[in-house]
Symmetry: C2
Subunit: 142 residues, 2 copies
């Protein structure tokens, strides 16, 4: 799986004249391994803990590439910094975010998706990215 991802990324880069570098490979691998959400900084620390030294600048420069290549996507905008998450083939999900314990509950809802499409269609708007985040209190915290 990762091997396939790696060659996909390599191809993606080659196609547009970008280069395949060890740093980019490390960043991609780590981003794919990570479960759930992560931030740029976190990725740097994780790599560093594994003894892999990649500069923050490079991570900040690589994450947008991974987004464009479709490996990860930006999520959770309510915080001061961006969060990313691994794009899994299966689901287009959104998030419930607990304001007390920070837990993030994912959900997927077909009906909501249809409504979003209708709203865009009615306004001649071509959606590129939809952000749905519900902040509140989870079962244990309410």
């Amino acid at each position: 799986m990762t091997a396939k991802d790696i060659s996909r990324f390599r191809d993606y880069l080659k196609e547009r004249g970008f280069k395949w570098t060890p740093q980019r490979e490390k960043i991609l691998k780590e981003a794919l391994i990570l479960e759930g959400h992560f931030e740029a900084d976190e990725l740097v620390y994780r790599l560093r803990r594994k003894g892999i030294r990649v500069s923050k600048a490079t991570v900040y420069r690589t994450l947008p590439l991974l987004v464009k290549a479709g490996f990860i996507k930006e999520v959770i905008h309510g915080e001061k910094h961006l969060h990313y998450e691994h794009v899994r083939g299966d689901s287009r999900h959104d998030h419930l975010i607990c304001l007390r314990c920070g837990k993030i509950i994912e959900f997927e809802d077909e009906a909501m998706r249809e409504i979003q499409e209708r709203i865009c269609r009615e306004r001649n708007f071509r959606p590129e990215k939809v952000l749905v985040e519900i902040y509140g209190y989870c079962e244990g915290c309410r």
Copy 2:
């Protein structure tokens, strides 16, 4: 209308031992006058253009107060900085945001609201704030 808002803010402050100051009055007034969305910085400039000098720090300290008091709310999280908008009694609307021209189109959809409620109910989640933002290209830019 503004007079009523002002006394409501004054009461809100008094109730919790905060003080009513000219700066807070100016900031409240300007935030209410503003149509559409604004950022902290913008508010400072607008006041300054009117010859009203309020420090950035004070604005940054006052906006959260206005949010808690229910006069304005935070919107548009996709950008690096927070945007606020005047809470109008009538509508609970969301936004379509054009990635090219930056235009913000508001929409309101009852069906979507109901689905959100159902999603929360199903998960025993008590929603406090719902964020729906659709990024894409508007009629003129697609």
